[in-house]
Amino acid sequence: MTTKILKTTALTQSVMRDYYASAGKTTCRKVAWATAIMPAEIATAAGMDVIFPESYSASCSGKNLGAQLIDIAEAAGQSQETCSYTRAELGVRLGGPGLYGGLPRPDVLLCCTSSCTTVLKWFADVARHFNCEMIVIDMPFNFSGKITEHSQRYIVKQLQEAIRRIEAVTGEPYDMEKLSQAVALSQEAGDYYKKCLELGTTKPAPMTTIDILTNLAPITCMRGTQAAVDVYKSLYEELSERVAEGYAAAGEERYRIVWDNIPFWFALGKTVRFLSEFGAVLVGATYLYHWVRELDPKAPLETLAREFATSITLNQSVAHKIDKIAAIVKSYQADGLIIHANRSCKADSLGALDLQREITKRLGIPVVMVDGDHTDPRAYSEGVVQTRIQAFLEAIDAARESAATAA
């Protein structure tokens, strides 16, 4: 069957083209590079152009530029043991063929440890390269599964300190009212985004995971802007229509599958096509839920601190991560879970063996682990991944048969 492309995708593409085309082009606007799980609303509110190198590397990987960029970084001495997002970005920094003609030079770096410790090492290297200032927001790992009071206080103080440093970079007094507005817009986009994810769990699926991933960039890169609100409002309306019509984005859903961990962007399309040969549909991904937050414009710093420290499973205990992922997988009425053991991301991959056991135990569905890497194709083997997925689908069949026999 032919899958209709979401109309919103054209809007997203145009918004993102404009975003990259205009970033760093206006002389009075400063450029900040931010890590993916940084409360970058604090910089957007100060009129900065904020760029997210992880999102950018993912886009480069999706366009199959990863291998070439990584080669450039490794030829310059960067180790293969470092995250491949960072190697791809370094490849672009050293003159490699990045999308949109590369990234604008940063005036300041905003680095938050909520995603991982890796970003501290990466951005320190970027800071040395451009000789620019780096603002760190340290978000302690939530070992107990919830944020401690002193951790919350620590993060708020760092955000206050960051605001003072942003003032020094822009040369303008910081307007807390604008921060509240940016947080309000961020939350408005986030609310629509969350509702899109909720609609996405409908059976039959009104969109596939590829559809939502194609529209992910605005929530990662443009929070705090009206453009991001427009994208997710449009997507929500479009999906509501599809659900009302009972539209099935992938036709027959013989197997509803959920994905865990960052995808291997360069081979995701191919994997989805392989799945579809068996009537299997990738209906959801746990990765999408890193951007679901509850911000309050009346308490911007407190809620940015709390939400960015806790909304991402990478900064949470393994027990908490398992609970959250089990709930997500259940919400999709999934028949199986594919866990990507991501060679480049220990923060998202360690604990996966516990996750695999627990999901099988709690939800009674097969879980398969496939090795790969989000940007480095050398850590991925198409044959091995496909063989494992095929065996996984057979395990779902076997589970169904034994359930039928038991009944």
């Binding site: 001495g77 410790t117 340290d138 070992f143 401690t148 951790s151 760092q158 205990s317 360690l350």
Partner: protein, 383 residues
Amino acid sequence: MSNEAFSSLLQRCSEALADRRSYIETWKARRPGAKVVGYFPTYVPTELVIAAGALPVGMWGGPVAVSRANAYIQQYTCSIVRSTTEYALKGTFDILDAALFPPICDAVKLVSSIWNLDFSDRFLVDMVNLPERLDSTASVEYLGAELQRVGDTLAGLCGQPITDAALRAAITSCNRMRSLQEELYRWRRTAAGAGVSLAQMQTVLQAGTLFDSDEYVALLEAFFAASGLATSAGKVRGLPVVVTGLPCQQPHASFLDVFESSGLRVVNDDLFLGMRACGQIAMDGDPYANIARAFTESVALATRYHSQRPRHEFVLEQVRAAKAKGVVLLIPKFCEAEWFDLRYLKEQLAQQSIPCISLDFEEDPGSLGAVQTRLEAFAETLA
């Protein structure tokens, strides 16, 4: 080496490390009901453990064949997280009442969480949630509160409150331990101590993560009293180098012995640096705040960020202080933080025209032929 006092110190340390369980059992037998608290590198404030009346013991892994741990941890992680997990599953750590982890890297954050999920029926698992940035006053305040929380947990475990007096006494003991270790480094740079190999230093320093702190202090003091410091002049052999990359995972002694057999003399290193780096903790005022401040003022390791104290300056200072001719970067396999620093440190050393070489290692030394060849070749370039 010929120094008898050092030989005796070394023997005492080696014996204790060879049978840690006996040492711990003897310690416990003398203190009925006292607890033993394991801790993972690079740094946990052991003063808190001592002040709660418990024995802090470093969990350093080792060259164990990993099999059961593979059901918990992927194989593309460093050997120390895999070997310690294997030990936990084998029951080696069942003598511990608690295991404390610092959040030193993504792997250790997650592995500690896996231990908490899967092994907390064996012992209490907790994290001393140190800040990852050292350059904010907010970090000191945060850490002070976190240390209070950990202190409360330890007090609950040990059934006795941590008094300020007990904490100050523990700080005094650990301060003395760290100053004696510094003295040991100074002594080793004299002719008298020059014959001490890197592996021997590793043994003496590692024993400091097992022995009761007062007992360890007494051992080192006895050594200095008996050695008469610079009296027995040894012959200084080998080209002086600095070794960096060792605060966490430890190479096997046979791996470290290759340095001397390749014609190199290690004059400065960062063995167990996390435990040594906080130097002398202040005694006046709030002891929790003092420990917190000392931590944030310590040197920046690969996994700690400080905007004004980059790691290369520390390495360069180690080279200058010991008049080293080159640097060996020892990189634990799969340690992302150290691999990130490789390109950066190489560039910084090259700018200063300091020769360097990098080697990766796992706890299991494997075949050492290639290591020997590379270190010999490096020694030739320095000669």
